[in-house]
Symmetry: C2
Subunit: 412 residues, 2 copies
């Protein structure tokens, strides 16, 4: 589950080419216009000769293709622009959540090429059955992707809970899962992906982490360090530092829902007191707004809240303001600690951002020592509802871009 994109180990002769393949491909991926070989040479510091050789490898491996010439004014031989191939390797993203299953396919460029969502209450469904359904959806996704010339090289599964290094779901409270051995359960089904060196066949991770990765790789590119908060029934956060997700010593970082915002306040099911989740979790907001939980399916609760707030309902507005204040206290802690300048509200919070942002910002201004010199941006996520599935698939595709040598060794 740890993603080290620094070589760190022995630097052999061949590592040199591997590193430069990744360097050039990464540059092509992040450029805002299709760069020419000459552009890449000046941007990377390599010579044109080397760049040509590297690009030749990438073209042969079908990781990049030549686009229409980049519009450039002036004399000289016209450049040939290089873009990430829209065929070739792609990532499979899977998501199990409380009220839906989602599957998607993302290509090298980060484009979502396939998307399926199956809405259902998954709480009464045994984990093995839920995963079987997901595999069935993934099979159809693979067929569709193959039709577009895409090969699935890895899969990532997002779950709303704690996952350990081996992919064991220790605890997914809102889903009712405990100690579910996901890799073993999925191994019972025929494989959907083609193994590529350097790309794990299956990664299982927290949905908040994967949603944050999705935000990191979304277009247009945003900051490389930020906090992404997924506000669902539970509240999770993905912490992106210097362009990499920070997972913590055991991969359990981001439990922002259990930051104490009122240390002597309401007891929480985690055993603590006054956790953020008790004041800004979906159930807490719904209850504070005077809505009966029973009459609302989970997937419409935030929509209903947004409707009421839009209409000026006083109870809803007050509930959202209080929740935003509690969230702001927690966010202020994070900003004081990590000195981040961007906070993204995702999941259910995205739709409620117009009412949550002002109190969050107010708390930040009041409580963050450095706010005077460095304004903090709080904004809703740009990805849609199944952000974690998109982020999961994108994280797989991203691995190919970060380590193209494995794919190239495969396809000759």
């Amino acid at each position: 589950m740890s993603l080290t994109h620094a070589p760190a180990g022995a630097v052999r002769q061949g590592s040199l080419r591997e590193l430069n393949l990744a360097l050039v491909l990464g540059r092509i991926a992040t450029a805002d216009r299709p760069p020419s070989r000459a552009d890449l040479a000046t941007a990377t510091g390599l010579t044109r000769a080397t760049v040509s050789a590297v690009v030749e490898d990438l073209l042969a491996g079908r990781l990049v293709s030549e686009s229409d010439p980049a519009p450039r004014s002036g004399a000289g031989r016209p450049a040939r622009g290089l873009v990430l191939a829209d065929q070739g390797p792609a990532g499979l993203g899977l998501e199990v959540n409380v009220d839906y299953l989602a599957v998607c396919v993302v290509d090298l460029a980060g484009q979502v090429r396939h998307r399926t969502v199956h809405r259902a209450d998954l709480r009464p469904v045994p984990p093995a059955d839920a995963l079987a359904l997901l595999v069935e959806m993934a099979g159809a996704a693979r067929e569709d992707a193959a039709g577009h010339g895409l090969t699935l090289v890895g899969a990532a599964l997002a779950v709303p809970g704690l996952v350990d290094d081996a992919g064991l779901v220790r605890l997914a409270p809102n889903l009712g899962w405990r100690d579910v051995p996901v890799p073993a359960l999925l191994a019972a089904h025929p494989p959907l992906i083609e193994q590529v060196p350097g790309v794990p066949a299956l990664v299982v991770d927290n949905e908040a982490n994967l949603a944050a990765l999705g935000e990191l790789h979304s277009q247009p590119p945003g900051p490389s360090s930020f906090l992404h908060i997924s506000g669902e029934v539970g509240i999770g956060a993905g912490i992106v530092l210097d362009g990499a997700l920070f997972r913590g010593v055991r991969g359990w970082s981001g439990e922002i829902g259990h930051l104490p915002v009122h240390p002597e306040g309401r007891p929480c099911r985690c055993g603590g007191q006054g956790c953020l989740e008790q004041y800004a979790g979906q159930e807490a907001i719904v209850a504070a707004a005077g809505l009966a939980r029973a009459e609302l399916p989970a997937d419409t609760a935030t929509a209903r809240l947004a409707e009421l707030a839009e209409a000026g309902d006083a109870d809803a507005l007050r509930a959202l303001h209080d929740a935003g204040t509690a969230l702001g206290v927690a966010v202020a802690s994070v900003v004081n600690l990590l000195d981040l300048d961007t906070v993204v509200l995702g999941g259910g919070y995205a739709a409620l951002a117009p009412w949550l942002c002002p109190p969050v910002l107010a708390e930040i201004d009041a409580r963050v020592l450095t706010a005077a010199w460095s304004p903090v941006t709080v904004r809703p996520s740009t990805l849609g509802a199944e952000a974690a599935a998109v982020g999961a698939a994108g994280s797989v595709a991203r691995r190919i871009v970060a380590q193209p040598a494995g794919w190239l060794a495969r396809s000759g």
Copy 2:
């Protein structure tokens, strides 16, 4: 101020050797016994031939030396052990604090080879005068170091405040500094260090950050991710993730002293309410213990508290317990967020650790969701009082180990 120890840029022909020099030297630095060339080959994955060539460069540059043969049982040609040289490059560490100035010199192996402390109340002293005094002490340190065959290749200055990328001290509240241009003030004095490519002549950083780096590089090596808390008049934290200090977007991470532990509690001079500093800062503990601030010099306050607690003074014990509980709430937030498994209490907290640790651990157990699966260690710092100065000097020496090519290019 950002230290990227991954190449990330273009990988040229010669980068290969640079990377392997760093790889081998780093291995020598972290080995618990002097390794032979053969040991290094198996440890790094390089061939013995390559390791021999690399080691030859390191020996020629006087970064390592051959030690007495490592005791090894069995047949075969005896190995020649390699150790970091006790002569050659060294780092200069400087510290300005509220009640003392400190200067030290640390060699490649992390040994403190020189140490000077000047105790005085620095609050009434103008910054320029304080720095002039520090430079004078540093001059003597350089003479002493030169007598041991050590060359100063860079300096790092620790200050108790916020520092920006250019070395400008924006705010050091307890010292009374505001917008002090340290590099410009130091440039007025003759240079003390010999410039080496890749090593900045002067780094100015927060004392909590540098103390954390000192802890990271202390012997015996500890974990590579931890939280280091410096409890002085203010409370600062250094966050070490995966062996690297995390400085935040603007270098202002670690302001744990302003985490809200009682959101509607006592007003804080930062403008917020209920900040940790108001409950666990030195002044708060002293006041809660019923000691008059005026009759205590700042540098003896913690010693006096420890004395009283040792003697069983009820007021002192209660004050420490309450401070520890507040600290525990903040630490629980950090652990929930970052999933760290080690917390180091440094600065004034080190001496008070016997009384602070129990309540801190109690709050962690109660509030951290994952505490059941992953015990968190809370322990006092192993470094002494001037930890920041030692960490500062060590961070300079460490740069040579991480990037030896610059030094080698210099000395031919």
